[in-house]
Structures are given as structure tokens and as C-alpha cells.
């Protein structure tokens, strides 16, 4: 699971009001090289919840992103884009769990696929 996916997912348990961001429990992190595409990154930047991405990348062991959302003028800097690219697309949670911030319910992540299926009493 890339942090791109983490940045969109919210806890989907019925009745939960603050389901974002999901906390990350790490068992295994992998890094996969992904082709660098500045246009895709520029398109994605305004859609990203920055703090959630910065915190998530730190929990995966990468601490190069600034804590606060940077000015969009930084998108002209290749150095910044490369860090953004690495955090968003190359860091991947292979094994672990996503944890609902409100209820503590764990959603397992196996072979990189988060399982967001709910139990009957959570729908």
C-alpha cells in the first residue's frame, strides 16, 4: 500500500465521524522504484492532505518531508518533487495494519493490500 492510498482512505465503520487519517502499524515496509512524473505530482499536490502524508511517511521511516503543507511554488523545485514522489509512491507498507483513529479497529494490510471489509455489526 502506497501512501497515496493511505491519504484517501478513511475509516468506514458506521457511526465514526473522525475516521481520517488512519494510524499505521508497521510490520514490513518495502521500497519500489516508480518512474518520476512531475505532471502527475503537480496534479496530485492540491488533493493531498499534507500532514497526514508527512506523518505517515515518518511512520514508514522517511522523515524528509516538511511538517507543514509547503507553498505551491515549491512544486518548481525538483528536489522537493523527488521527496514528494518518494513518500507518495515509492514507500509501501507491505505488511501491517491501518488503525481507526476513533475506535482502534484494525484493518489488516497483507501483501500490500489493505482489507477494508467490515463485520456485519459495523455496517
Amino acid at each position: 500500500m502506497r501512501l497515496l492510498t493511505h491519504n484517501m482512505l478513511s475509516s468506514n465503520i458506521k457511526g465514526v465521524t473522525n475516521g481520517f487519517p488512519l494510524r499505521i502499524e508497521v510490520e514490513k515496509v518495502i521500497e519500489k522504484q516508480v518512474d518520476f512524473n512531475p505532471d502527475f505530482l503537480k496534479n496530485m499536490f492540491p488533493k493531498i492532505e499534507w500532514k497526514a502524508l508527512a506523518d505517515a511517511s515518518r511512520s514508514l521511516g522517511y522523515s524528509e518531508l516538511p511538517d507543514e503543507a509547503p507553498e505551491s511554488s515549491l512544486l518548481e523545485s525538483e528536489e522537493f518533487l523527488k521527496k514528494f514522489h518518494h513518500a507518495l509512491l515509492e514507500l509501501q507498507l507491505e505488511e501491517g495494519a491501518l488503525v481507526c483513529p476513533e475506535t482502534g479497529r484494525k484493518f489488516p494490510v497483507n501483501k500490500g493490500i489493505p482489507n477494508m471489509l467490515l463485520h456485519e455489526d459495523e455496517v
Binding site: N7, V34, N37, N43, K47, L117
Partner: protein, 199 residues
């Protein structure tokens, strides 16, 4: 990318050996999947550099297809001037996800898989640009197609490309505009297997 090349690529992919009737897992015909993505990319520019989500069962054709349209790394290398985008593929069924990930690996594509019931999908707003889907037509479970459409229109900031039975066309259009806040709803293509795509 040439339409014929896309079709022949998709024709080689693995299909379901035991489709699950209750999930309406019929494979999407290659020519339909190819045509849908071809139109999304070449007529509307909804694939290149975009974040595309792929909803629902029986759809690994489209999964791999939407990737290959944009993926320089794929063995295809026929899509000149198209840059990589990311695809997020969601399915409720472990078996579908397994087949989809095998296909993705064969094609050397990186796809972001999520196991989830589309009806319970909870995203932080309109985070994707484009949704492509071949929803269950609702023949087994009434309203399943509308459930998919409702969620798709909630999470897509750009367009939704969806296949439906011709007999439900008016109903789909009306629901999209009236109940799900679609900006517009139009038939983009009629295909022989009694379905059509719209955005």
C-alpha cells in the same frame, strides 16, 4: 495507442475460471474495455497524468487496461507521449484481487489494490480524477448498479465512465443528475453487448 493493439493485449489476460453469480462477475469484453479507455483518454484526456480508480467485480481487464494506457514501463511501449498515472483498483472479492494482481505483475504494472465493499467505501472527499467501472447490473441484487454509481460520483473530481444495460439507461441518467449531483450525463458509446458508457 492504437485501439487494435490495446484489444489484443487485453485478450491475453487471465479470466475468472469460476465466476460468482451472486457478485455478477462476468468478464468485461476486451473490445468494450478497450473502447471505454480509448475514449476516456483520446476524447477527454481523463487518463494521462490522472489518478484513476477502478470499481468493482470482474473488472481486471479494465484495471490492466487503464494502466497500460499510461504506463511507459509496460512492455507495450506503444503509447507515445502518454505519461504514467496511478490506478487504484477496488474489489470486494479476494479471488478477483488475486487474479488482478497476477495480471498486473505479468504486465509489470504497479496498481494500488484495496479490498472493500464499494458500498462501504469511505474516502476523504473527491480524491481521484476519474472512475472507470463495469458495475453489477443489479440483476441479482436490485440497486447494486446505483450503489456503485453513487459512490463513484462522490469520489471523482473529473469523470465517471460506467457500463450499463441499455434498458436501464433513462433510470441511470435520471438518478445521476437528480440524486447523485452529476454535472452532466451522456451516452458516449453503444456497444453490442447491450451496454453503454457515459460520463
Amino acid at each position: 495507442m492504437k485501439l487494435k493493439q490495446l484489444e489484443s493485449l487485453l485478450g491475453g489476460l487471465e479470466q475468472f475460471s469460476n465466476p460468482k453469480v451472486e457478485l455478477e462477475q462476468y468478464p468485461t469484453g476486451t473490445h468494450i474495455a478497450a473502447r471505454m479507455l480509448y475514449t476516456a483518454e483520446n476524447s477527454f484526456g481523463d487518463v494521462t497524468d490522472k489518478l484513476v480508480a477502478d470499481f468493482g467485480c470482474g473488472m481486471w481487464y479494465v484495471r490492466c487496461c487503464s494502466c497500460s494506457l499510461g504506463c511507459r514501463k509496460s512492455f507495450l511501449q506503444i503509447a507515445e507521449n502518454v505519461s504514467i498515472e496511478q490506478v487504484i483498483a477496488i474489489d470486494i472479492d479476494s479471488q478477483s484481487l488475486e487474479i488482478a494482481s497476477v495480471n498486473a505483475e505479468d504486465l509489470e504494472l504497479d496498481i494500488n489494490f484495496i479490498q472493500c465493499d464499494i458500498r462501504n467505501l469511505e474516502w476523504r472527499g473527491q480524491t481521484v480524477d476519474t472512475v472507470v467501472m463495469n458495475p453489477p447490473f443489479g440483476t441479482r441484487k436490485k440497486g447494486a448498479d446505483m450503489d456503485f454509481l453513487c459512490v463513484a460520483l462522490k469520489v471523482a473530481s473529473g469523470a465517471v465512465y460506467s457500463l450499463h444495460k441499455t434498458s436501464t439507461r433513462d433510470h441511470v441518467k435520471k438518478a445521476a443528475l437528480r440524486d447523485f449531483n452529476a454535472g452532466s450525463a451522456e451516452v458516449l458509446c453503444e456497444v453490442s453487448e447491450d451496454g453503454f458508457a457515459w460520463s
